[in-house]
């Protein structure tokens, strides 16, 4: 990881020096072992650019603001393979000006989830070393160790694989985490429950929601200029949940709004401070779209067209819910 970080830093320096890019969008190290922050770099601060196993943050959404307006500068964005799906989807939706972006694809062998380290009781984390698929975690209370694959981010456990789907160059090797699994396993488990149990599951999970909007704001598919829930004139603005059911509706509405556009990047679940498995809502809709309209991966191509906005005569009829809903 150290080596690829240096490769990327060197390449970023070259891009800035040659004028191919005016700024680099990447990650800057924080004060802890796992807290790199998204940042824009120029020649002055490019020495602070890092790339490590905690660079899970998907940078594609930052390009919306960055490429807006009349400024003509070019930004070189460091995107991991899965981030490029979000990038493509944003291109489809005309949210990013492609001419102002130079995509530097960065190899990825799976990103780590610090919450999973903490859930194992690793606290007081001072440093983390990675070697041969194992992590050594140096803590205030002694060294701990675990296999890397057990603390990968949810999105990496079911990595899409296959490398970058949009980029102008790749730095480092194209790698895939060694944990690729069935991404619909969690959804299938929920589908096997009775409607009542499923309802209880979600009421339980969503009861922890604090309406911080982190899921929405981190989501590359949530790119409305003014969200209906922030608009005091919409009649449904809400900073807190007025009753318990409302928070359920918020998440369900959001999932439907991004249906067919969600690339399954996993940011919603990563950022939730309460650990609500929001990606399961999105994956359920992705799975339904696949089953009803044929396999579809949002963001796989810059000009892909979601089945939900392309009418064909063979489309599913609304009554399909009677067969599929599982209600008695």
């Amino acid at each position: 990881m150290q080596r690829i970080s240096e490769l990327i830093r060197t390449r970023a320096g070259e891009l800035l020096e040659s004028g191919a890019a005016d700024q680099i969008l990447g990650w800057e190290n924080g004060g802890l072992a796992y807290d790199p922050t998204p940042a824009f770099f120029t020649a002055d601060n490019v020495a602070g650019l890092v790339y490590n196993s905690f660079c899970g943050i998907n940078l594609s959404k930052y390009l919306i603001e960055k490429t807006k307006g009349k400024e003509s500068g070019k930004v070189a964005a460091l995107l991991k393979p899965c981030d490029t799906y979000s990038f493509n989807q944003l291109l489809c939706e005309h949210r990013i000006d492609r001419d102002k972006v130079y995509v530097v694809g960065v190899g990825c062998s799976g990103m780590l989830d610090v919450e999973k380290l903490k859930a194992r009781g690793f606290k007081g984390i001072k440093g983390i070393d990675e070697k041969d698929g194992r992590l050594t975690v140096h803590t205030l209370y002694g060294d701990k160790s675990c296999p890397k694959r057990e603390v990968l981010m949810e999105r990496c456990i079911s990595c899409k694989g296959g490398g970058h789907v949009a980029c102008d160059e790749v730095v480092g090797e194209e790698l895939t985490p060694d944990a690729a699994g069935n991404r619909f396993a969690g959804v299938e488990k929920l589908e096997s429950l009775s409607p009542d149990d499923r309802f209880d599951f979600w009421r339980g999970e969503l009861s922890r929601c604090i309406r911080c909007n982190a899921c929405r704001n981190a989501c590359p598919a949530c790119s409305c200029n003014k969200c209906v829930f922030d608009n005091s004139r919409s009649g449904m603005a809400a900073k807190a949940n007025s009753d318990d059911f409302e928070q359920n509706m918020f998440h369900i509405i959001r999932a439907f709004h991004v249906a067919g556009r969600c690339t399954d990047c996993g940011e919603c679940s990563r950022v939730c401070p309460q650990g609500i498995p929001l990606h399961l809502l999105n994956r359920k809709l992705i799975k339904d779209v696949n089953e009803l309209y044929g396999d579809y991966q949002a963001g796989a191509a810059p000009d892909s067209r979601s089945p939900l906005i392309s009418y064909t005569q063979g489309d599913a009829e609304p009554d399909v819910i009677y067969e599929r809903g599982g209600a008695r």
Binding site: G31, L32, I57, K123, C212, D230, E267, G275, I276
Partner: protein, 346 residues
């Protein structure tokens, strides 16, 4: 000082809950939250901060204020009653207890917020010293001593013994009500107790964020900091969500809104976040139209405006929740390091 064998904690909890509702940190969906104690509830003192702070029990995320109902030409207005539930909040960390002092400054100064005042009156805070703080903790920078927590009663868990020290009249009353279960600590306990506190202090000194300097901040730093050219770079990672403000034990801004129940209107107040685009929205619009300004507001409030209005007390207690929870890993520590006098010192 009193003491109790750790094995008798369930008994203590049952006794407390028999008198007042007992809330303590419990696991919910893998995350730690303050929740109601029931028989069999496990208390794990090694787990640190709850996701939401103790603030929630005195200044809840949302609460009803008044109800309006109309019937023909009659309009009825019903005020919500002051909360009256007597409760004990057990296992509050030193940072959260200090956070309540910051909230007191806001809600107990004139005009007194009666809902908050009633909850403060009804609630007894039992703190727990932090034997195993996290790497995200930096309470020391804000004058909090995790080995010597505040609250109405302070408690320590050293190996097999719970030490219990009342700090206020309310604490004395709770201690007196528990006198048949708590034992008096004697001279022999003092050694073990002192050693426990010394061990905590040693770890606090070793924390990675220890030594964070507040030089350059405070009530008189307005001009030096407000116009700093570093705000745009600091704020560009911010995604404008409310996570930092909602998990914060001292953020106290709220909004008042009306909810149409279909048969009337429920007026409630709820936490607000300066990170939101409609924060302080008025008839003429929003005074802070960009995320840079909103981001700056949060840190200026904590590090400059709050101390300016509260005899130097900062609006941060170093609990580290924002450090752990920010989706973009941008936080007050990074702001302090970037803007402080010792900007380049670690």
């Amino acid at each position: 000082m009193q003491k109790l064998p750790v094995s008798r904690l369930p008994e203590l909890f049952a006794r407390i809950d028999g008198m007042k509702s007992l809330y303590l940190p419990v696991s919910a969906g893998g995350r730690l939250q303050f929740g109601r104690w029931t028989t069999g509830t496990a208390y794990d003192p090694s787990r640190m901060n709850t996701v939401k702070s103790a603030k929630d029990f005195f200044f809840p995320q949302s609460e009803d204020l008044v109800f309006f109902r109309s019937k023909g030409k009659e309009l009825s207005i019903t005020e919500a009653k002051d909360p009256a539930e007597p409760f004990v909040l057990f296992g509050v960390r030193a940072c959260d207890a200090k956070g309540l002092e910051a909230l007191d400054r806001v809600f107990l100064s004139d005009p007194v917020d009666t809902f908050y005042a009633a909850r403060r009156e009804n609630g007894v805070v039992v703190t727990m010293a932090c034997a195993e703080p996290e790497e995200t903790c930096f309470c020391g920078a804000f004058g909090v001593d995790a080995a010597e927590p505040g609250g109405d009663v302070a408690a320590w868990l050293a190996q097999d013994t719970l030490y219990w020290q009342s700090r206020t009249d309310k604490g004395d009353a709770l201690t007196a009500a528990l006198e048949d279960i708590l034992e008096d600590a004697d001279q022999r306990d003092q050694g073990a107790f002192a050693a426990h506190k010394a061990a905590i202090k040693a770890i606090l000194d070793d924390l990675p964020l220890n030594g964070l300097s507040l030089e350059g901040f405070g009530g008189d730093a307005l001009e030096a900091l407000f116009g700093s050219d570093k705000w745009p770079a600091l704020s560009q990672a911010c995604i404008g969500c409310g996570t930092c403000t909602f998990v914060c034990p001292t953020c106290q801004c709220y909004d008042i809104q009306d909810f149409d129940t279909g048969r009337g209107v429920k007026r409630f107040r709820c936490w607000d976040s300066c990170m939101y685009s409609d924060f302080t929205l008025m008839a003429h619009g929003n005074p802070r139209t960009s995320q840079v300004e909103r981001f700056r507001q949060r840190f200026m409030h904590k590090l400059v405006y709050f101390p300016a209005n509260n005899e130097g007390m900062y609006g941060c207690v170093g609990c580290g929740r924002c450090v752990a929870k920010c989706p973009a890993f941008m936080n007050i520590v990074k702001v302090i390091r970037t803007l402080g006098v010792n900007a380049h010192a670690r």
